[in-house]
């Protein structure tokens, strides 16, 4: 069987797997971004208990493996009466895990805004909410976007683990095709190339574009 015949026969399955991986990545990154901003801001709170909740969350999710967390969510949570289907468990696991890493980026981004900016907005009598929203946040966002690009690629790679709880993503399809054809180089190689294309030709250019847009918005282009 030539490689083209292989692609002709299994192409549609790779495609459906790739689409599911894209969907997983999209949903999990939305969750991760929400968690990251929430926990990142809580981490900077001056109110002790709020800060401690964020610290425990961040250290807990960064201290254990994504795979362990996924298995825990999928196999152990049902014992407590919370049964999730594998797709939801996958999105939840990946999003919560990468969100903890993102929270540290949010914290770093906000702390990187020069002190003078905080003082100036105080001098202009801005409310804390307005100061954060109008002055600090836009600048922090520009500073933290480059590491977010790296993190989103980590997230894409993280979604491959979801195949281990039987979500039919790209990784899952590759394993199935390998199991039925024994053409391992073709099956896993094709999947590797598709992941690479996602990371290098979709996520990276998109993030670079976003960095450009944001830099112009705060007048740093």
């Amino acid at each position: 069987m030539t490689y083209f015949e292989f692609l002709g026969e299994y192409g549609p399955r790779f495609l459906s797997g790739a689409l599911l991986t894209a969907l997983l990545t999209l949903l999990a990154s939305m969750l991760a971004i929400a968690v990251a901003f929430c926990m990142g801001l809580m981490r900077l709170s001056t109110f002790g208990p709020v800060r401690w909740i964020a610290i425990v969350y961040i250290e807990f999710f960064r201290g254990t493996s994504l795979l362990v967390q996924l298995y825990w969510i999928y196999f152990v949570l049902p014992l407590f009466g919370l049964t999730l289907d594998n797709f939801t468990a996958g999105v939840l696991g990946v999003g919560l895990n990468l969100g903890a890493y993102g929270a540290e980026l949010v914290r770093g981004g906000i702390q990187s805004v020069p002190r003078g900016q905080w003082e100036a907005s105080l001098a202009l009598n801005m409310s804390p909410a307005k100061r954060m929203w109008r002055i600090i946040f836009p600048q922090a966002l520009v500073n933290m976007l480059p590491p977010w690009g790296t993190l989103l690629i980590e997230l894409l790679k993280g979604t491959a683990l979801v195949a281990l709880i039987s979500v039919a993503d790209l990784m899952f399809e590759a394993r199935q095709i390998n199991g039925s054809t024994y053409l391992s180089a073709e099956a896993f190689g094709t999947a590797l190339v598709i992941y690479y294309v996602f990371a290098r030709f979709i996520i990276s250019p998109f993030m670079r574009w976003l960095e450009g847009v944001m830099a112009r918005k705060v007048g740093r282009a």
Binding site: V76, S184, G189, Y195
Partner: protein, 225 residues
């Protein structure tokens, strides 16, 4: 609602601790491979040959942007297709070692680039040999820049070892899954695995931060490096 069973916990704990030893062994061997191969990747990108450095750069990018778990499968299954059979341990170590070598090469590269150009020029001006340049001038300055990244990936490789269970490397995660499917009790094994990871990775991360501070102090550097 299900309750935690202590007698079951004590029964499985020795097996899980044994699994932990294999996890640590896998992380250690993988990291050693990554340290050496990463250096090779980094130095190959500094050779005068444009083609060579470009090719190595692309390989590093490829490894970094594809999932480790898929790479583990690839290494494990592709060998037999061409008549080379690798054991789960060997293929696991190759895959995880290469994956982290790609990451570490970026750390090395950034560290070497972080040494000011004037330092290299001064070495040339003082007629120091390449050996002296690296040993006495460049590496002591590059090390503090590289240490945080190297430490992060040491903890990272440890946390990625559960992926080796997918090809049957008998480390901690594999042991826990085996216990779970034998006894139909997942609560204790998976929870203990999570706790073991926390108990090892948090103190390690803390210790590494102390080490960084100590190295900076020893090399007479301020906090800003």
């Amino acid at each position: 609602m299900i309750e935690w069973r202590w007698e079951f916990t004590w029964e499985i704990l020795p097996r899980l601790l044994e699994g932990t030893l294999y996890t640590l062994l896998a992380a250690g061997i993988g990291y050693l491979i990554a340290l050496v191969v990463g250096l090779v990747f980094a130095l190959l990108q500094r050779t005068p040959s444009r083609v060579l450095s470009r090719v190595v750069r692309e390989i590093v990018e490829f490894i970094r942007s594809t999932p480790l778990v898929l790479q583990i499968f690839f290494v494990f299954y592709v060998g037999p297709q061409f008549g080379v059979s690798l054991s789960p341990w060997t293929s696991g170590m190759i895959a995880i070692g290469l994956h982290y070598a790609a990451y570490l090469s970026e750390v090395y590269r950034a560290a070497l680039d972080g040494v000011p150009k004037g330092q290299w020029e001064a070495c040339t001006a003082l007629n120091l040999s390449p050996r002296q340049t690296y040993r006495d001038i460049v590496l002591p300055q590059a090390l503090p820049i590289a240490l945080p990244g190297m430490g992060n990936y040491l903890v990272g490789i440890f946390k990625d070892t559960p992926m080796l269970s997918v090809i049957g490397v008998a480390e901690l995660m594999h042991t826990a899954t085996a216990i779970g499917s034998n006894s139909y009790r997942y609560l204790e094994p998976y929870t203990i695995v999570g706790l073991i990871f926390l108990l090892i990775s948090l103190p390690t991360a803390f210790g590494l931060r102390r080490l960084e501070a100590w190295v900076r102090l020893r090399l007479g550097m301020t906090r800003q490096g």
